[in-house]
């Protein structure tokens, strides 16, 4: 599973490097970086001259802000891609499907009748949380399964949410910043003891730098 994540991270890193190359003014960026280096040298060379050091620090700060403003528009593209990817990656690599026999809680924001697909046992009636106006049920997968939880609201509206149990991945399309109609508490997992984001960003940074170095040559 970790190799799939590293592959996605590497592709993302390449794409981010490509976006930086395509949408930023590399000549201006290079010039700004050179200025920053020059001010750093200035700091080293004129340590015994406080007025020069102070001025160099001021200029260093200014050039850093300039560099940020130069790369910001280009870095928005990978940021938007990451925001869109995050829910899918978190579902697939940050959580595991429900373990067979292990109970979990599903929560809906509206009151209604919940129906479970075959292989999922509804263990409790809907438990009302007056405070947050939610309803929760306890469910238990009786075997490996993947199906739709269906919530029939009083006004006739029908809401569904896919539920997965047993070995495998949770692969489903999720919109960022949108709470699912029926929230399922999948167990959190780590990859080699670490959060998936660590491996993702390590892979994307490595591939991004490798891509940039390739262009230089």
């Amino acid at each position: 599973m970790i190799w799939a994540l590293i592959l996605v991270g590497a592709i993302y890193g390449c794409a981010a490097a490509l976006a930086m190359r395509r949408f930023s003014d590399r000549r201006l960026v290079r010039r700004t970086v050179n200025r920053i280096l020059a001010h750093l040298m200035e700091l080293q060379l004129f340590l015994d001259s406080p007025s020069v050091v102070l001025r160099a620090q001021r200029d260093l700060l200014r050039e850093n802000f300039r560099l940020l403003s130069l790369v910001l528009p280009a870095s928005l593209i990978p940021l938007v891609i990451f925001v869109a990817l995050f829910p899918q990656l978190d579902a697939a690599f940050g959580h595991a499907p429900l373990r067979v026999g292990e109970r979990t809680v599903v929560t809906a924001q509206d009151t209604g009748a919940l129906e479970a697909p075959p292989g999922i046992v509804l263990e409790t009636p809907g438990v009302v949380d007056l405070h947050d106006q939610q309803v929760s049920w306890r469910v238990r997968p009786a075997g490996k399964t993947s199906g739709e939880l269906t919530l029939r609201l009083k006004d006739g509206q029908v809401l569904t949410q896919r539920i997965v149990a047993g070995p495998g991945l949770i692969s489903e399309w999720r919109l960022p910043f949108r709470r699912p109609a029926i929230e399922i508490r999948y167990p959190r997992i780590s990859l080699w003891g670490e959060n998936w984001m660590l491996w993702f960003f390590a892979a994307s940074m490595a591939s991004g730098f490798a891509t940039a170095l390739g262009w230089k040559r």
């Binding site: 373990r99 809680v105 009636p125 438990v127 009302v128 949380d129 947050d132």
Partner: protein, 635 residues
């Protein structure tokens, strides 16, 4: 040419990985399997009375052997299991009781482990950041027998061995009795109630707190570990949110990311909980089980002691450290507290008997789950597996709830049957560290010493005046002299004065009679001749009570009770901390034994003999199989 180094690198990598893979399965056991099932507190008299209900133990007796097992003096679990582990007597392994006292401060401390703070720390205001790790060290001396097996290339899996916390770094296994909860205690439950009749207070083994339900929601502050990052080490807390359904007997529980739903009278699954030490940066993970004692009209919620989460252990509970996570992923979370049955909740009236039995059944269920997993992993060498349920249930049920206790024995017997069915070729040994007897009357040794003018009280009540005290008791069997040069305020000279004091106390205690029935509450008073390494912690005398008697609860913590002899009115109705001869353990073996009077110190030697390994020179026992079995090889 450029391909050459890459080829060499790949070859070396494959070769190294291959060697590592082979190394994992290297074993000199040659397919031999030895399984030892340790059943804490299994009593020979109870077993003999119920052979028909215990078919697997009866089968072992008829196929191999059954004997009463001589236990240690004192017959306390930490003491006896330490002898089982090392083959040494208590004077050498240095574990005499659950608690010892520090002669420099006269304060009691847990006898099995010690936590050493980080050596280097940086202080920032009220914060204190450690630059090195705190260490937990076992205070038991001597070499565990499975370490000797390991040196001979024989793999050992040791599951829940008592007094094996932190677990010995040899073979693999889970720590047992002595493993604390996250608060660092041997188990502190939390109980919350909104009943105005119940007052918030700290009780022995727990804390009772008030709950307030507003709009169907109660937020319960759950105490976690002391915050080691703060200079004052104040406790860390996490909030357990209980949302009670307005119409049905159900509630949703939420702690951080964990949620569960419970019906009234039901137990939740394990709920992982993070206690923040440095907000948003550093937290400690534990886990709790919640019991919804009542949801309507009053809210009464019991929360288990915060166990170390085996999936993300904050303390060293397994060897190797990753093992607890592996097992947890295979079987689900399980109790990790050293003594998981919550007898304190029963004794404090938080549980009634059926509720205690239900909690105890959860523990037994976990034990069965772990045994199943252990048998699955076990191929050859030694497997030791421990059951705590018989002991803890005997303390509560003995003599008054025979059928309920028999059910626990039956469950353990069924597990033994399962072991025999799944590993028919294995040599099997089933043993216990001691037996049981009723606890009807308590003896307050400090009160007796006070009346004998050997212990003096100062002006403030219950404070011992050390300048006029010659002897004092602390622990369930231990009695100490206030020795000059050892104790902080010692007044008794070592030599003729201490010898005379010994005789005076021995004669007095043996002459004591219970006015209620005329019986002698104390049968033996044994002088301890501790090794040099244990002289500071060892008691001077071990008191062996007669059946039906035990040291008072006050004596256990070094306090002075109101009367010398009193009725035991506690829910804890049976014990074994008496004269060792009255509470032998059991020994069942699948292979007949030749020893006529086996003792617990013989068992490590016998297990080594089954693999043909010579005992360590310091070990006291002899193989129960006799000299003919197990060609002993030198290391």
């Amino acid at each position: 040419m450029p391909d050459h180094p890459r080829t060499i690198f790949l070859f070396t990598l494959v070769f190294t990985l291959g060697l590592a893979a082979c190394g994992e399965h290297r074993s000199n056991a040659k397919g031999r399997q030895v399984i030892v099932i340790g059943v804490d507190g299994m009593d020979p008299v109870f077993v003999e009375k119920h052979w028909a209900d215990l078919p697997n133990l009866a089968g072992l007796r008829s196929q191999g052997s059954f004997a009463r097992l001589t236990t240690t003096t004192p017959p306390q679990s930490p003491t006896a299991w330490s002898t089982f582990i090392t083959g040494l007597d208590p004077a050498e392994h240095g574990i005499f009781d659950f608690v010892h006292r520090d002669p420099a401060t006269m304060e009691p401390f847990l006898s099995m482990t010690e936590t050493k703070d980080a050596r280097f720390e940086v202080s920032l205001g009220s914060w204190q950041l450690p630059l090195s790790r705190a260490r937990i060290v076992s205070l038991r001396k001597g070499k565990p027998f499975w370490q000797t097996l390991g040196e001979h290339g024989i793999p050992a899996t040791i599951v829940h061995m008592p007094t094996n916390y932190p677990p010995v770094e040899s073979g693999e296994g889970l720590a047992g009795m002595g493993t604390p909860d996250l608060q660092g205690t041997q188990g502190t439950f939390s109980y919350f109630s909104d009943d105005p009749g119940e007052t918030a207070r700290a009780v022995s083994g727990g804390a009772i707190s008030k709950a307030q339900v507003t709009g169907g929601r109660a937020i319960l502050h759950l105490e976690g570990p002391p915050n080691s990052l703060r200079r004052d080490h104040r406790a860390s807390f996490a909030d357990l949110v209980v949302d009670v359904d307005p119409a049905q007997p159900f509630a949703r529980l939420t702690i951080g990311d964990s949620t569960g739903i419970v019906r009234e009278g039901e137990w939740s699954d394990w709920l992982p909980v993070d206690f923040p030490l440095l907000p948003h940066l550093f937290s400690v993970r534990g886990m709790v089980r919640v019991f919804a004692k009542q949801l309507h009209p009053r809210l009464r919620i019991y929360v288990s002691p915060v166990n170390v989460d085996p999936d993300s252990p904050a303390l060293p509970i397994s060897t190797p450290r990753s093992l607890s996570r592996e097992i947890s992923r295979a079987t689900g979370r399980f109790y990790t507290l050293g003594i998981p049955e919550d007898t304190s909740a029963l004794r404090q009236g938080v549980f009634d008997l059926p509720q205690f039995l239900a909690q105890s059944a959860l523990v037994l269920n976990d034990e069965k789950k772990l045994l199943d997993d252990s048998l699955e992993r076990f191929h050859d060498g030694l497997l030791f597996f421990y059951f705590s349920s018989v002991d803890q249930n005997s303390h509560i049920l003995w003599g008054q709830h025979e059928q309920e206790l028999l059910n626990v024995y039956r469950a353990v017997d069924a597990s033994i049957g399962e072991v025999r069915r799944r590993k028919p070729a294995a040599e099997l040994m089933v043993m216990s560290d001691h037996g049981f007897t009723s606890f009807d009357r308590s003896v307050d040794l400090n009160n007796w010493l006070y009346h004998e003018r050997l212990l003096a009280l100062s002006q403030s009540p219950d404070q011992i005046d050390w300048s006029r005290t010659k002897a004092y008791a602390l622990g369930l069997n231990s009695l100490y002299f206030n020795l000059a040069g050892r104790e902080r305020h010692g007044i008794v000279a070592d030599g003729s004065e201490s010898r005379a004091l010994l005789e005076q106390i021995r004669t007095g205690l043996l002459a004591l009679r219970d006015p209620v029935n005329g019986r002698a509450p104390i049968e033996t008073v044994t002088a301890v001749n501790a090794s040099d390494a244990n002289r500071q912690v060892a008691p001077d005398l071990i008191v062996g009570y007669g059946p039906g008697y035990r040291g008072s609860w006050e004596t256990g913590v070094g306090a002075v009770g109101r009367t010398v002899l009193d009725d035991n009115t506690d829910a804890w109705i049976a014990d074994h901390c008496i004269n060792a001869a009255d509470v032998p353990g059991v020994l069942f073996t699948s292979r007949p034994i030749s020893a006529s009077n086996p003792a617990i110190a013989d068992l490590p030697v016998s297990i080594l003999a089954l693999f043909g390994v010579a005992p360590e020179p310091a070990m006291k026992g002899h193989s129960v199989y006799g000299a003919s079995y197990g060609a002993v090889t030198a290391k």
